[in-house]
Amino acid sequence: MATKTYLQAISDGLREEMRRDSRVFLIGEDIGVYGGAFKVTQGFLQEFGEDRVIDSPLSETAIVGSCTGAALMGMRPVCEMQFSDFVSCAFDQLVTVAAKQHYRVGTPVPIVVRLPSGGGFSGGPFHSQNPEGYFAHCPGLKLVCPATPADAKGLLIQAIRDPNPVLYFEHKHLYRRIKGEVPDGEHTVEFGKARVHREGTDLSIITYGAMVYTAEEAATAAAEKDGTSVEIVDLRTVTPWDKQAVLDSVAKTSKVLVLHEDTHTSGFGAEIAATIAEEAFENLDAPVARLTAPDTPVPFSPPLEKAFLPQVEDVAAAIDRLSAY
């Protein structure tokens, strides 16, 4: 075990899989000479050469489409959207081509699309989004949203070995801020298995990605303030999602807050809330609460962005409302 940043863990996972499996190659914008906009692939070109670390033209459709073709020919491509926002340009390749190949004709498409996502830096409406909601609606794709360095590595390696198209959402605000223990060498994390980030008995927060830490700060504050015991469930993967872990937590605490950074309407939280209403109604002592970004583009201006992103005090207020119910 060594302590690594979230970014280093992603980089390690990629590098180790490339060393282990010569079929794995990378393609994306500025990932070679420059080492990636966030330096995740720094040094990769030197180690693996330009056949396996390909600086592509500014061309998201060609990046994802060529990954699908290479995967069909037996390769294991990992591509990078420089910012997750740019994946809109490759939407058709993902939802029409990659996601539907196996259902139609039984050919697996083992590709990974890395998506640096999330806000918190005044990146504005085109460099800050969390676009998982669009893809959660598309059968055939898997969606991964790691929160910890250990999961960042383990879920990435799992994604590369998965026989399906996997969208790997890496949160930019966690890159250098979050450090943690990461197992050395071979480390995989199964998809669809949530992680209890913090045990609690009074209410549950169901979340993933960067919001795990926002929830944690609010939970710590609540415990100090009035002893409220908050459980935090980190989904780790949005597709497939660990329904049972959520229902188990709700059965234990009877109150639940669904929290995500993506916008509100038809966000993945709606699916979680609906499932709890359908399958755990008898266990609830309060209506399911949702805390998300509002239904607006991500604003550029710092005070507006702060108001847009769920903050610790917003979570704290939601905890108080649920506690008082």
Partner: protein, 232 residues
């Protein structure tokens, strides 16, 4: 119908958004290049498809890396009801290849031997490291876009002109004049092809319809599906 595929034959299933498979073919070529295999990918699409952004992105990426891929544009002059003059502003779609740094060739798409010769040349060029080629095969769609469409918008004279250029008849004539095809062998081939098609139709019609319980099967691939010689 373009919705055919047999992966065992190297045919990748098209999606209805036809040019979406052009970047996929480029990816196949990328795999061949990375593995240094003497293989070539062929991307097939039509004149309508060439208006799309993915056609551009595919040809651009292929040009940049001089990938072993041949782009076949089956220019049958109509995209559903839309004629060439409303689909592109260049004289020939093949002219675009120049902008991507490789060769484009306009080919008489109704001449089987010319198509064979040009395709062979382009494929061997790609295999030898010479990069992509765009072949524009000019022909005419002799029926509507689909069974509901009687193609009333295609000028009669054009249809008549292309009826005379029917590639199968042209090739049959050539075989008879130049390659000793006699009536007997010609009939035998015709009978054999008809039988093949009839048998396939019969097999399709005799095959059981899927059970509704299979609806949700196969959305995702299982790990063991990658445990094939192809994916190992």
């Amino acid at each position: 119908n373009v919705h055919m595929a047999d992966f065992r034959l190297g045919l990748i299933a098209m999606v209805s958004h036809l040019p979406a498979l052009m970047p996929v073919a480029v990816g196949c070529a990328l795999a061949f290049k990375i593995r240094k295999e003497p293989r070539v990918a062929v991307a097939w699409s039509g004149d309508g498809a060439m208006a799309r952004g993915d056609a551009h992105e595919a040809m651009n990426l292929a040009g940049v890396h001089r990938l072993p891929v041949v782009f076949i544009c089956d220019n049958n002059q109509y995209a559903y009801s839309t004629p060439n003059r409303l689909e592109f502003g260049v004289d020939h779609l093949a002219d675009r290849a120049n902008a991507y740094g490789f060769e484009g060739v306009v080919v008489d798409g109704t001449d089987v031997l010319t198509v064979y010769r040009e395709a062979h040349k382009a494929i061997e060029k790609a295999r030898g490291g010479g990069g992509p080629t765009l072949l524009e095969l000019v022909t005419l769609r002799m029926e509507g876009h689909a069974v509901h469409d009687d193609a009333f918008y295609v000028p009669r004279e054009l249809l008549e002109a292309y009826t005379k250029k029917d590639p199968i008849e042209r090739y049959r004539r050539w075989l008879k004049e130049q390659a000793f095809l006699d009536e007997e062998s010609d009939d035998a081939v015709t009978v054999e092809v008809k039988k093949l098609l009839n048998d396939a139709m019969k097999r399709a019609e005799d095959s059981p319809l899927p059970d509704p319980s299979e609806l949700e099967a196969g959305v995702y691939a299982e790990p063991e599906e990658l445990d094939t010689p192809h994916h190992r």
